[in-house]
């Protein structure tokens, strides 16, 4: 009999405790973030979409080699000596024209391994994470700053320079040969 009333007391008492707790939570500010309007604060080292600052890129290909999924494609063309490509912000001399710098974000695993080897710190993680696309091809980002005609021109320049150099070398080769012939 005593237990019977104790049960009733316990049931009611615990129900009121529970109701007190839920009522308190009615006025606790919600933890919900209304996503498109408010955005969560990302952690300092959050890894999101990559960006390449092409002004600083020396085309060294180290990021492409570090990439575990091979999502970075770099193609370069040497500059001819008459051209001055300037220096990067940390004082490295640029000698290569970067004619292709594509990152395929459909492949990218956001491991940040490409960021560390970069000698000029020109490839880095941004805080952009909303870049969904309908077409997978649209996820291939091209960071090249040169226009198509410029790329073509640089390539032609380089082949011409090479050809000239080869011709010079050939001439230089044949000249001493002639000399030696005359010496005989």
């Amino acid at each position: 009999m005593r237990e019977y009333f104790k049960n009733i007391y316990n049931a009611l008492f615990t129900i009121f405790i529970g109701m007190k707790i839920t009522f308190k939570h009615l006025f606790v500010p919600a933890v919900t973030i209304q996503y498109p309007e408010e955005k969560p604060n990302l952690p300092d080292r959050a890894r999101n979409r990559l960006y390449v600052n092409m002004d600083d890129c020396i085309g060294c290909d180290q990021c492409a080699r570090a990439c575990p999924v091979s999502c970075i494609t770099i193609e370069t063309v040497k500059s001819i000596p008459t051209e001055d490509l300037g220096k990067t912000s940390n004082g490295k001399k640029k000698i290569l024209h970067v004619t292709q710098f594509d990152i395929d974000f459909a492949k990218c695993c956001y491991c940040q391994l490409c960021v560390f080897p970069c000698p000029t710190e020109c490839i880095y993680m941004t805080d952009i994470y909303e870049f969904a696309e309908i077409q997978r091809d649209n996820l291939i980002y091209s960071f090249v700053t040169l226009a198509k005609e410029e790329i073509k021109e640089k390539k032609e320049n380089f082949t011409r320079f090479e050809a000239e150099k080869a011709a010079k070398a050939a001439a230089a080769k044949s000249a001493p040969a002639q000399n030696s012939e005359t010496n005989k």
Binding site: L12, I15, T22, F23, H25, L26, F27, V31, T32, Q34
Partner: protein, 356 residues
Amino acid sequence: MIYEFLYNLIGSHIVASFISAVFPLAFLVPFALFAVYLERKVSGHMQDRLGPMRVGWHGWLQTVADIIKLVQKEDITASATDKKLFNFAPVLVFAGSYAAFAAIPFTSIYIGSNIDLGILYIVAVSSFVVAGILMAGWASNNKYSLLGAMRSAAQIVSYEIPTVLVILSIIVISGTLNLMTLSEQQSSSFYNWMIFGGAVAGWKKFVLIPFVMIGFLVIYISSLAEVNRTPFDIPEAESELVSGYHTEYSGMKFAMFFLAEYANMFAVSAVVVALFLGGYQSPFGYLGNTTGLTWLIPVEQFFWFAAKGIFFVFVQMWLRWTLPRLRVDQLMVVCWKYLIPISFANLVIIALIMVL
């Protein structure tokens, strides 16, 4: 009374009663829309979420959008169902819960039907809901639906006993089954409400108070079970029975069940309010009396009635997010071992006090 007013205006009993019968529906549909919204908001905030936020300011049009979606939906009837019963069940469930509103006094000038056996009628007619639920569960030809319906029937039949016993003890105090008269007895101030011993004279009033309070708790718990709300929601137990007897329903028929559920929630709250908390009576005087505007009094009465009813609906929601669901055996233990003996002893004690 509005009915007499309509009759004098139109001159036809049929048209007047038809219009008079539509009034509770005009209250119920907006109430159901509001209650669904309130439920989602309350559950959201109790879980430190926000609830619906997108449709309209703070999502206030969410339920309207949901209803529009439900209306557009395809009305699916599975091939193995018993078509007639399947289609009739939601109508019966809604009719059962709506019929209860006929005897509930909304204000001093509006009651669907001022019958002398009002509360008995409500208890009787709300049992229709069980028939409808059983029908839905059986006709769905789905084991979970049938299980839900069976549980619901067992539950409602058991919990009707403590409800009726408590109602009986109130009838012993008030001496009437008419909810209108009962509400009138509790007039003038909250001191006269039944939960504070009613309008009984002398020492009896103070002796009655604890027993009436016990009765109030018992009827509130058992009315929760009667409308299948948490912690007694085993007929609809989402995690074990999909959603019980309305698993197979879609579109408008599902909306009917939903509307019936919320109508029922308000109906039991309204009965509790009419029995214990003075019905439509204001806890203090009326503004209409002090300013001399007599037309204001029914409006105020309706406000108080709706406010008390919605408060108890809110408490039902509050309990839903506080308590876990009871097991079937625990449910029966609560009813047969606790509520029925308590309410029975309560009835005997109240009757003794009233006889003395």
